[in-house]
Symmetry: C2
C-alpha cells in the first residue's frame, strides 16, 4: 500500500454514482478543474438506486464513500440525485470529509432561470419522495411554486437505450401531462440518467419550458 499523500492539492477528487449516469457530472468537473485527478466509482452491480428504500440507499452510499476513502480522496461528490436527496445529511455527519451533492446546483440553476416562478422537478421515487429539490428551491426563493413528479420508468428506458422511440414518447407523455397543464417555465431533470431522454422530454414539454440538468 502507498503511504497517504498528505499534500491536499495532489490528492484526487472522489466521485460516486449508482452507475454511469454520474459521468456527466465528472465531465463537468473535468471541464472546470482540468488539472485535478479524479477517482470515479460507479456501482453498476447494484444500479439503479432510485427505487430502493432510504435505508438501503444510505447503506450503499456508506460503502461507496468507504471505497473512495481507500483511494485517499480529498473530498467527495455524490453524483447521484437519489443519494444526494435521501442520504447526504446522514453520511455528512458520519464521515470526516466534505461530501457534496447535486441537488443544490440544479436547484440554483432553476431558481436563476424561472421567470414565472413555476418550476417542475422530475426524478426517481427516492428523490421526489424526499422533497429535497423543493426544500432547496424554497430556501433560495420562497416565492417559487414547485411541481414535482416521480418518473420510475425513465431510468430503465435510458439504460435500455430507449432514448428516442415512440414507446418512450408515450410513457413520457403519460408522466408529464400533469406538468404541461400547470404552466411551468423550467423543468429540473433531477436524475443523472434523464439528460439521455432530453429530446423526448423537450418534445413533450414544448419550446416554452427550459430543461435544467444536475450536471
Amino acid at each position: 500500500m502507498n503511504m497517504p499523500d498528505n499534500n491536499e492539492r495532489n490528492r484526487p477528487i472522489g466521485i460516486f454514482d449508482s452507475g454511469v449516469g454520474g459521468l456527466t457530472v465528472m465531465a463537468e468537473v473535468i471541464r472546470h478543474l482540468p488539472n485535478e485527478d479524479i477517482v470515479y466509482f460507479g456501482d453498476v452491480g447494484r444500479c439503479p438506486y432510485g427505487g430502493l428504500s432510504k435505508e438501503t440507499i444510505i447503506q450503499f452510499a456508506r460503502q461507496d464513500i468507504r471505497f473512495l476513502l481507500e483511494h485517499n480522496v480529498k473530498y467527495i461528490i455524490a453524483a447521484c440525485n437519489s443519494v444526494s436527496a435521501v442520504a447526504l445529511d446522514t453520511v455528512k455527519k458520519e464521515f470526516d470529509i466534505d461530501i457534496l451533492g447535486v441537488i443544490s446546483p440544479g436547484a440554483k440553476a432553476a431558481t436563476d432561470y424561472t421567470k414565472n416562478r413555476r418550476v417542475g422537478v422530475i426524478g426517481t421515487v427516492a428523490t421526489i419522495g424526499s422533497n429535497s429539490y423543493g426544500n432547496e428551491i424554497q430556501r433560495l426563493n420562497n416565492d417559487i411554486k414547485l411541481f414535482s413528479l416521480a418518473c420510475p420508468l425513465f431510468v430503465p428506458l435510458a439504460e435500455e437505450g430507449y432514448l428516442d422511440k415512440e414507446a418512450t414518447r408515450l410513457i413520457a407523455h403519460d408522466y408529464l401531462k400533469t406538468l404541461i397543464d400547470v404552466d411551468i417555465d423550467t423543468l429540473v431533470l433531477g436524475c443523472t440518467h434523464y439528460p439521455l431522454l432530453k429530446n423526448v422530454i423537450a418534445r413533450v414539454m414544448g419550446n416554452n419550458v427550459k430543461l435544467v440538468d444536475s450536471a
Copy 2:
C-alpha cells in the same frame, strides 16, 4: 423469543422473492398445500434483483434466507427466477436446509408441452445470462431447441402498472420479434413479474404459442 418448535410438520414453509412477484408462487403453494403455514419475505426495499450482478444477488439471497431461518421454517422456496437461476447452487451448499427454486417446474412444463421441440424463454438479464432454463430443459430433453431472450424493461413496466398499454405493446414487439421468427410453440415466462404482462405478450406472440409461467 419463542422456543423453536421441532415438530417439522407444524413449522412453516418459507418463501422469498425480490418483491411481490413471488406471491403468485405462494398462491399455488396454498392451493396445493392448504394446511401449511407460510412465512413470505418480499425484499421490496431492494427490488428488483434481475439487473443486479450475480455476486449481489447471491449476497441478497443469503440475507433473505437468514431472515426466514429466524422464523423456524422447515424448507425454503426461492420464488424469484433470478435467485433460482444464479444463486441457488451456491446457497444450497451454504445452508443446512432444503431450498427449492422455480426453474425446474417451468422447464418441466415447457418440455411437456412443446410439440415441435422449439421453446422460447424470456427473463431478466441475470436469469437469461445464467442459461439455467436452457441447462434444465436440455437435461430433460436433449432434442429441444431453445431460444432465450432478456427483456429488462418488463419488470419496471409491470411494477408501474403498464400492463396493457400501447407503449408496453411496442416494447414487447421490439423484444419478441426475434422469437416470432423462429417458430417456437412454447414460451416460458421466466420471471414472476411477467404473468402480469401475459395479455400483451400473448397478443404479440399470437395464438399458436403457449405461454408457460413459473408459478
